[in-house]
Amino acid sequence: MTTAKSDEAVEEQAAPVTPSDRRERDRMRRRLARRRGGGWWPYAFLAPWFVGLFGLTVYPMLASLYLSFTDFDLLTPARWVGVDNYDKMFTEDPVFWDSVHATLLYVVVSVPLKLALALGVAMLLNRDLRGIGLYRAAFYLPSLLGGAVAVAIVWRQVFGGDGLFNDFLAWFGIEGQDWISSPDTAIYTLILLAVWQFGTPMVIFLAGLKQLPKDVYEAAAIDGVTPVTRFFRITLPLLTPIVFFNVVLQIIDAFKTFTPAFVISNGSGGPLNSTMLYSLYLYKKGFTDLQMGYASALAWVLFLVIAGFTAVNFIAGRYWVHYDD
C-alpha cells in the first residue's frame, strides 16, 4: 500500500518534541491505523455475511454431522444411533448403490464429453467470423436455461416413445424406442441433456483461447507445424489452467444435478433406479420418507466425495497443469 508509506513519511517529518506533540502524534497514529484497518467498520460491512456463514453454513454442517448419527423424522426429537445410518447405507441399502452407480456413470460420461465439445466449439469460434456473436449466443442459450423445469419437460418429450428423437432416427431408417422408460438408456438422455448445455465451459475456454500468446503461433506457423501438432503441443498445454478450472467446476456441478432427474422420472428415479441421481435419492430420503438422519448421512457422504474429487483434482493437477509463472 503506497498510502501507508507516505503517511509514515509525513509522521517522521513532524518529529515530536513536547508532550502535547507526542499526544498529537499518538492520536494521529491511531487515526491512521484506524484508517488502514478500519476499526470496527469491516465487521459492520461483513455482519450479514457472518450471520449467513455461521447460521446457514457452519452450524448446519455441524448439525448435519450430528444428525447423521441419529434417527430423526423432524417431528420427534433425534435419537442417537451411532454409525447405524452409515452402516445401513453401505451394507444393506441397494438403492444407495443404484444411486452411486447412476451418479458416477453420469459424472464420468457427461463431464468429458461436455468439456470436449465445449473446447472444440470454442476453437471454432476463436476467429474473426461474421456473426460470431450470434453463434456464441446460440450455443450459450441452452446452458442458461440449464436447470429449468421446462427444459427437462421438453427433454422428456423429445426422448419419449413418439418423440422428436425417434422421428430423427426414422430418417435414417432406425427404429426408435422409448428412451426414457428403458432402464438401459434413461440415464443417457440425462447425460445428453448435460452435454447439450456445454455453453458455460465453452465461454470460459473462449476467454482462455483469446489470451494465448500470438507470437508462439507465429513461430509455429513459420516452422510449418501441422494443426494437430499445434493443438496438442501448444494450445492444449497453454490452456491447462483453464481446462483444470472447468474440470473442477463441472465435476462439482454434475454431482449436484437434481432437476432433470426429478422431472424426467417424475420424481421416482426410475425406471429401476436408473436415473436415481444421488441428489434425488437424498431428497427422497429426507423429504418424502422423512428419514432426515439417514439423509444427513447421505449428505455428508456427498460432501466428502465432492471434497475428495476436488482434492484429487488439485493433486493430480500439479502434474498436468502448467502455469506460465
Binding site: T3, G37, G38, P42, Y43, A44, P48, W49, V51, G52, L56, T57, P60, M61, L67, L74, V121, R127, D128, Y135, A137, A138, F139, Y140, P142, L144, L145, G147, A148, V149, A150, I153, V154, Q157, V158, L164, D167, W196, I204, A207, Y217, E218, A221, I242, I252, K256, F258, F262, V263, N266, S279, L282, G286, A295, A299, W300, L302, F303, A307, Y323
Partner: protein, 302 residues
C-alpha cells in the same frame, strides 16, 4: 485469479495491420465456408429442441407427435389460454409468486454481497485471509450438504410454506460467487477516489454508498441478472420449502402438468413451458453480450 472487470470486446485490428497468422487463416475462403457450415449445423441442433417446444405449443395435441415438422399444420393458440387457467390455480398466481421470490432474492444479493465485497476489497483486518478463504470455500460446498439442517432451522422458525427461506438467506450473502465477483470488480476501482472522499470527511459507509456502489454498476447488473435467472429456475429449494398450491412458483406449477399429461393436453403443457422460459429468454436477449462476457472474464486465468 484476476480481472472480473468486463473487458471491452476485443476489436479485430484494421485490415491493413493484420498479424501474419490472421492472414494465413483467412487466405482460404473455402475453409471459412466450411467453418460456417459446421457452426450453423451445431446451432440448429442446439436450438431445435427449443423451437420444437415453441411449435408444439401452438399445435393441436393430435399433431404434436404425428407431425414432426416445425410448422404447425393448424394453429391452436387455445393451448395458451387453457394452460394459463390450467391446474387448480391460474398460472398468473405462480408467476406472481415467482416474481416475489426472485425480486426479494435479487435485492438481498445486491445489498449483502456488495457490503461484504467492499469489506474484503478495501479493509485490512485481523484474519482477513482466513475469512476470505472460507468465503471461497463455501463456493464449493454443495447445497445438498446443508439442506436438511437448514430445513430444520426454517421449520423451527415456522417459515415452511412461506417465501422467507427462499429470500432471507440472500440477505445474508450466502451466494459467495457474487461476493467474489464484486471483490474483483472493486479492486479495479482506483483507491484514490476513496482517499479523496476520505479527505472530504466521508466515513466508510458514505464511501461505499456514494462512490463504490455507483461505480460498480456493471457488477451489480451481472449479479442481478444471474440471481434472477438462477433463483427463478432453482427448483430444489422451491420444491422443499413451498408445500401448498397457493404458494407454488412457476417451476412447481409446471410439474403439476407432468402428473396429469397422461390424460390431458400436451399442447397446454408445452405452452406453459414456453411461457415459463420467457423471463429467462427476455433476460438473455437483452443482456446477451454482458452475460457471455461477464462469465468469460469472471475469475479466469490463475
Amino acid at each position: 485469479m484476476s480481472a472480473i472487470t468486463p473487458t471491452r470486446p476485443s476489436k479485430s485490428p484494421p485490415r491493413g495491420a493484420r498479424p501474419p497468422l490472421r492472414k494465413l487463416r483467412s487466405a482460404t475462403g473455402s475453409r471459412r465456408v466450411f467453418i460456417h457450415t459446421v457452426l450453423i449445423g451445431v446451432a440448429i441442433v442446439m436450438l431445435y429442441p427449443l423451437l420444437w417446444m415453441l411449435s408444439s405449443s401452438l399445435k393441436p395435441d393430435t399433431e404434436i407427435f404425428t407431425q414432426p415438422g416445425l410448422i404447425p399444420g393448424s394453429l391452436r393458440p387455445e393451448n395458451y389460454s387453457e394452460g394459463w387457467s390450467g391446474s387448480g390455480n391460474s398460472f398468473s398466481l405462480y408467476i406472481t409468486n415467482s416474481l416475489i421470490v426472485t425480486i426479494g432474492a435479487v435485492i438481498g444479493n445486491v445489498i449483502s454481497c456488495s457490503l461484504a465485497a467492499y469489506a474484503f476489497a478495501r479493509f485490512e483486518f485481523r484474519g482477513k485471509k482466513i475469512w476470505f478463504g472460507l468465503m471461497l470455500g463455501t463456493l464449493m460446498l454443495p447445497t445438498q450438504a446443508v439442506l436438511i439442517p437448514q430445513y430444520t432451522i426454517f421449520y423451527n422458525l415456522t417459515w415452511i410454506n412461506t417465501f422467507l427461506p427462499l429470500i432471507v438467506p440472500k440477505f445474508l450473502a450466502v451466494d459467495a460467487f457474487f461476493i467474489f465477483l464484486m471483490v474483483q470488480f472493486i479492486r479495479s476501482i482506483p483507491r484514490e477516489l476513496d482517499q479523496a472522499a476520505m479527505m472530504d470527511g466521508a466515513n466508510p459507509f458514505q464511501i461505499y454508498w456514494k462512490i463504490i456502489l455507483p461505480l460498480m454498476r456493471p457488477a451489480l447488473i451481472t449479479t442481478t441478472i444471474f440471481t434472477f435467472i438462477w433463483t427463478y429456475d432453482d427448483f430444489l429449494h422451491q420444491l422443499v420449502y413451498l408445500q401448498q398450491n397457493d404458494k407454488f412458483t412457476v417451476p412447481l406449477g409446471l410439474t403439476l402438468f407432468l402428473d396429469q399429461t397422461s390424460g390431458s393436453s400436451y399442447g397446454a403443457m408445452f405452452a406453459m413451458s414456453t411461457l415459463a422460459l420467457l423471463p429467462t429468454l427476455i433476460c438473455f436477449l437483452i443482456f446477451q453480450k454482458r452475460l457471455v462476457e461477464g462469465l468469460a472474464t469472471s475469475g479466469m486465468k490463475g
